[in-house]
Symmetry: C2
Subunit: 301 residues, 2 copies
């Protein structure tokens, strides 16, 4: 286990997943012996630079419900972590959020340069689909192609990229909880939902099981975003490892600005209770998913 | 047929393909009724704004060799055109080539803004894999997943993005024909090679047939790049629709700076002869591919 994995905030049951994701990134991101080395180094810097590994952990915990071999769920987790790293690199660019710090380190465009950051984000996005398509991810090509399509939608204009566009533009009309929840559902919710669903797709879950897990993912995604908004508002920048109070500076409506901190905290807790309720059909097998749900609001970063 | 398609430089046999690609883009890029409209409008601006449609035409002409229904090859062509549009948007960004003009129109980051350009490029890259994964592209999921994986590799760090990285960095060691050809093989060659191979994959070509087509694509890609270099050097900016003489300004080695114009032209012609030679096993069926090969060096834009 690497030192980084040992620091995983999700502790014992998940630190192995974080370590395995790092090992897999090390394998798929071999540095070429020519001027492309800078590009791959930037991809490694972004992808292997820590992070909670929440999304791969969700894939694995969901897949565990259906007895999917870890070798398969880890690959789907690796793919979604490529998408996540891609989105952070591009989000941090000067023309987007213009952030210098991420996970306590200079962002990719600061540590390298803007052009390399654009290309590294692009290449990580493309890499996700190469990883998902490999036979090692699942022996059935129908399963691989379903994962691929759903991930491309979760990442694209009708998912994450669309959410980022909404986030960049001033909201029209009344900025209420519905509008903020809608933005979250696209910007971060679609990829979290894919992560939970991927375990079910790999495990050929029944449609009832998938519906339960979708309910879980929906509530979890909202709770996770509220927790993020609370950290942005009252967290410690050194612990969180990135610039905070951005929403406030930019005058953006968030769950916390709309509800206040106390109500936001209660709302997050209520959402976690709802999320856990959706796991009932899975009984004791869902202990890991319940653990993630609790962590998602009780974290300091 | 749209006015734009009617202007296709490849004339009659191909203008229908260009028109069909526009129609398909219009279908897959429906503008949402909210603030994401700006993102999708930028994607449409980039993807439907003309262009030679060389890559979709290559997919269709290659697939025609094997009697693949046009409805299938057009979808693979649509996917590769998403990748092409993605790469042009990001290539034109201020931190990359910093170009204001493309196909005679302001580039995406000028017509919209940089953040929208980054997101539109990202979303087009993601969209390609959604399109390829759909059952309408091919009934066999194994075929779809093979197309997906190969395209993700052709676009990513070990293909186009890697080539763009090479292009951004001063070359180490002697800058000779091999170094320039190697850059081309990654930066533009990988996607051209995918386009020709996609037709063969859709048509379940034999390995001998695929090898022949790979030879064709390799020679064609090089010839196409030499023609591009010649246009950059002596073309008319108004006709070509983008800023020219960039290579010269930046002191970059190209086929033309290394060989001179006359030898470069002869080299391109020789490559086209080689490309056509690879088509021999297909006899008269390959008339369309031969036509594309001829066009690729005889064009004014």
């Amino acid at each position: 286990m690497t030192a980084e994995a040992a620091q995983s905030p999700l502790a014992a049951p998940f630190s192995q997943i974080a370590a395995d994701i790092n090992t897999l990134f090390d394998e798929v991101l071999g540095v070429p012996d020519d001027a492309r080395d800078r590009l791959v180094e930037a991809m490694r810097y972004a992808a292997m630079g820590g992070g909670k590994r929440l999304r791969p952990i969700l894939v694995c915990a969901s897949a565990d419900l259906f007895g999917v071999p870890r070798s398969m769920s880890l690959r789907a987790g690796l793919a979604v972590e490529c998408i996540h790293a891609h989105s952070l690199i591009h989000d941090d660019l000067p023309c987007m959020d213009d952030d210098d710090l991420r996970r306590g380190k200079p962002t990719v465009h600061v540590a390298f340069d803007e052009a390399t950051a654009v290309l590294a984000g692009d290449a990580l996005l493309a890499l996700a689909f190469d990883i998902l398509g490999a036979a090692e991810t699942h022996p059935d090509a129908e399963v691989r192609v379903e994962l691929t399509r759903e991930l491309s939608r979760a990442a694209g204009a009708w998912g994450m990229a669309g959410g980022q566009m909404l986030d960049l533009r001033p909201m029209a009309g009344p900025v209420d909880m519905d509008a903020v929840a809608r933005l979250q559902r696209l910007k971060t919710g679609a990829i979290i939902a894919w992560s939970v669903d991927a375990g079910a797709v790999l495990g050929r879950a029944s449609s009832e099981e998938r519906t339960s897990l979708r309910g879980f993912a929906h509530s979890l995604g909202l709770a996770f975003q509220i927790a993020d908004d609370m950290l942005d508002c009252s967290g410690n920048a050194a612990t969180v490892g990135k610039r905070l109070r951005k929403d406030e500076e930019q005058g953006k409506a968030t769950f916390v600005t709309l509800l206040g901190e106390d109500r936001a905290r209660r709302q997050a807790q209520m959402l976690i209770d709802q999320a856990v309720e959706h796991l009932k059909p899975f009984g004791a097998r869902s202990a890991l998913l319940r653990h993630i749900a609790k962590f998602s609001v009780d974290r300091a970063y």
